[in-house]
């Protein structure tokens, strides 16, 4: 029983199932109700679950997350939508000082099972603040878990797993992949599915390891396919969980392949690639034939749409890094 649907639709189905399965789940955010969200991820949910379960909120991100904290204390499981990556910052104080710390502060007596959904990344030709990749800000924050999906099947299960988790989770959605299709088993039980915080080998290989997540998994897979034509057999790891990162899967791969390249859209400095490179360099010290290389956005604000293709890591830049790794 498998449907071929877009990533966006898969999220919609996943949210619907969570709303069905647990009366305490509420979806809240700007334009999530009648409009169904600017990306239609919550399309039809308010109609079916009512205005108390799918809440159109005032235009105030601190308010969205801050009231979600209160709702969670009361026993609800809020799923907050932040409309775009660049608009999460008004909520940053609530996320970093409250959501991330409540369990610690209360010695585990107050849990906040909050999911904060954020469409992220570029490639859609948008104006400023609509194409950013702020995941490192959250992965650097103890007390938050951070995940991201790269395909419809994962989108469907991961959103349900995130909502079912008692941890506060920032859920990054690769917005430019919203329209990409894949097979999804809508009947599957997410509880028994692949664990939320585990990385997945998206393509097994032997010669080098590409480490990617979210929108860049597709790019990495394309690069691996191209490299295969040149006789290079690249392994692609889809991290899925950005905090914590499943380093077991990463180390195992790199120790086998001896080469690692991390790919992400976010600016390079202190992006996820920094931590991964640091850890891999330490834990695979004697296995590496070349340093861990990073293919990332540059250390600039996300640029104007007409040059974003040059900003974003693409197949060529990944292959260039692979070449550099082999040429080391």
């Amino acid at each position: 029983m498998s449907d071929n649907i877009t990533l966006g639709k898969a999220l919609n189905h996943g949210l619907r199932r969570s709303l069905e399965n647990d009366a305490k789940v509420v979806v809240m955010g700007e334009d999530v109700g009648k409009l169904g969200g600017v990306f239609r991820i919550t399309d039809g949910l308010q109609k079916d679950f009512g205005e108390q379960r799918v809440i159109d909120t005032p235009l105030a991100e601190a308010g969205i997350v801050g009231t979600a904290v209160g709702l969670a204390i009361r026993g609800f499981r809020p799923v907050c939508e932040i409309q775009f990556d660049g608009f999460v910052f008004p909520a940053y104080n609530q996320i970093v000082t409250q959501v991330a710390k409540m369990s610690y502060r209360s010695m585990g007596k107050v849990k906040l099972p909050i999911v904060i959904r954020i469409p992220y990344g570029g490639g859609i030709g948008a104006v400023e603040h609509h194409s950013e990749s702020p995941e490192a800000y959250f992965s650097h924050t103890p007390g938050l878990k951070v995940v991201t999906c790269s395909n419809p099947a994962d989108a469907y299960t991961m959103i349900q797993q995130a909502i079912a988790s008692d941890d506060p989770i920032v859920f990054f959605e690769p917005k430019r992949r919203y329209w990409e299709k894949g097979d999804v088993d809508l009947g599957a039980d997410p509880a028994g599915a692949f664990p939320l915080h585990q990385a997945r080998v998206a393509r097994p290989g032997t010669d080098a390891t590409l480490i990617a997540y979210g929108p860049m998994v597709r790019t990495a897979l394309d690069a691996a396919a191209a490299a295969a034509e040149d006789g290079r057999n690249l392994e692609v790891i889809d991290l899925r969980s950005l905090s914590p990162i499943d380093y077991g899967t990463v180390y195992e791969s790199v120790k086998r392949t001896s080469r690692a390249i991390v790919v992400h859209e976010a600016q390079g400095t202190l992006g996820l690639g920094a931590e991964i490179a640091a850890r891999v360099s330490e834990h695979c010290f004697y296995s590496l034939e070349a340093p861990v290389l990073r293919v990332t956005g540059y250390d600039i604000p996300y640029p104007a749409a007409r040059v974003e293709e040059e900003y974003l890591p693409d197949l060529d830049r990944v292959l260039d890094a692979v070449d550099r790794s082999f040429g080391w």
Binding site: E30, D31, G33, K34, L35, G36, V38, D56, T57, P58, L59, A60, A62, G63, G86, F87, F89, P90, G125, A126, V127, E128, H129, T269, Y298, D299, I300, P301, P303, A304, A305, R306, V307, E310, Y311, D316, R317, D320
Partner: protein, 379 residues
């Protein structure tokens, strides 16, 4: 011409508003609000005609931009359709020394500042992110993060006071634009706090166009927005935002209060966004046609035209001339937009830091080398 009362009015929403020109094109002589302030305008015929010209022009340019967007020449457009009177009236009320802090929709205000209307097109075309000098034009960059500019405006206004530039008719004043949705942002409310505490020479101009994308006004407040100001200790006044005369009169009065050192005012321009939120939006999902229809009767342009006609200030020849001039301007704009070059990719490394950064210079160098490696290839 009748004498108006701000707290009543046939079309008025609860709480009334200042209206100096009815939808039917009747002039209201003056309006006195509850706090005793009297608003009126004293325009010459040419000035009335000038306002008409502005309204038509900014609508026409806006339409051209929408067309350009549909043809794929712009990535996005935020239309001002329906809000021309609020923008032209308030924009014309500014004196040359005044400073404006717009959102992303104030193309009409921009026009009234005498700025080349092409200025914001780089942003919407995606070739830059604005790229203009706020001080040169006394018009800050378009701000996309809802509400952020209200604090900038407040700080700038504090600076006006610190520079000793309030207290007389030559004083400077500041205007901050924002929408109904923005009033829910913490930062906007902080700007009310600060403006009150520092008695900043600022006018908060809220275009209440009834929606924040799909969210209707009642998601942001349960009482009229202009009343927010009283809670922070300064006056709030609601105007008919589709009445260019009210917009002018009340803004001019509030700016003059500010420049005299009498502190902030909040103006709520009660209006309606006739089009989509932006070109990416589909308003039929959240509002009914009859609502839009009912606002057509309150159109800012047709009421001024009716007035000009009835008063025999202008005739069809004039209206045709204005249309023609607007069309010419629009076509010129179109041509110039189409001619806007894409930036060289390497320029994306420019202007990150006024003083530059060696680390970034190195990234730029590597990028240039990488780009060069494709030269001659089909990339």
């Amino acid at each position: 011409m009748a004498n108006g009362e701000s707290e009543v009015g046939a079309d008025a929403p609860a709480g009334g508003f200042v209206q100096l020109l009815t939808p039917e094109g009747e002039r209201v002589d003056s309006v006195t609000t509850a706090d005793g302030t009297t608003y009126s305008v004293d325009f010459t015929d040419d000035e009335y005609k000038g306002l008409y010209h502005d309204l038509v022009t900014v609508r026409r340019l806006d339409g051209e931009a929408l067309a350009l967007q549909r043809q794929g020449e712009l990535g996005l457009w935020a239309s001002l359709l329906g809000q021309e009177a609020a923008q032209v009236g308030s924009g014309r009320a500014l004196r040359p020394q005044d400073m404006a802090f717009p959102t992303y929709r104030e193309h009409g205000v921009l026009y009234t500042r005498g700025i080349d209307p092409i200025m914001p097109f780089g942003l919407f075309r995606g070739v830059d992110q604005g790229g203009w000098d706020a001080n040169e034009h006394k018009f800050n960059g378009y701000t996309v993060v809802i509400g952020a500019q209200t604090l900038h405006a407040t700080g700038y206004a504090m600076g006006v006071t610190m520079d000793g530039k309030t207290g007389g008719p030559d004083g400077e004043a500041v205007i901050a634009y924002f929408g109904d949705g923005a009033t829910s942002q913490g930062e906007v409310n902080e700007s009310f706090v600060w403006s009150g505490v520092f008695n900043a020479p600022i006018v908060f101009f809220c275009q209440n166009n009834q929606y924040a994308i799909s969210e209707p006004l009642e998601r942001q407040t349960r009482i009229p927005l202009y009343r927010r100001a009283a809670g922070f200790g300064f006056p709030g006044v609601r105007i008919d935002g589709n009445d260019v005369l009210a917009s002018y009169a009340v803004t001019r009065s509030a700016l003059d209060r500010a420049r005299q050192g009498e502190g902030p005012t909040l103006i709520e321009a009660y209006t309606y966004r006739m089009g989509a939120h932006t070109s990416s939006d589909d308003p039929t999902r959240y509002r009914i046609a009859s609502e839009v229809e009912s606002w057509k009767a309150k159109d800012p342009i047709s009421r001024l035209r009716a007035f000009l006609t009835k008063q025999q200030i202008a005739d069809d020849a004039f209206f045709a001339e204005v249309d023609e001039a607007a069309k010419t301007l629009a076509l010129d704009l179109r041509e110039r937009v189409l001619a806007m070059p894409d930036p060289a990719p390497v320029t994306m490394f420019d202007h990150v830091y006024p003083n530059g950064s060696p680390d970034l210079d190195e990234q730029r160098r590597q990028f240039a080398d990488y780009q060069a490696s494709f030269e001659g290839s089909e990339h």
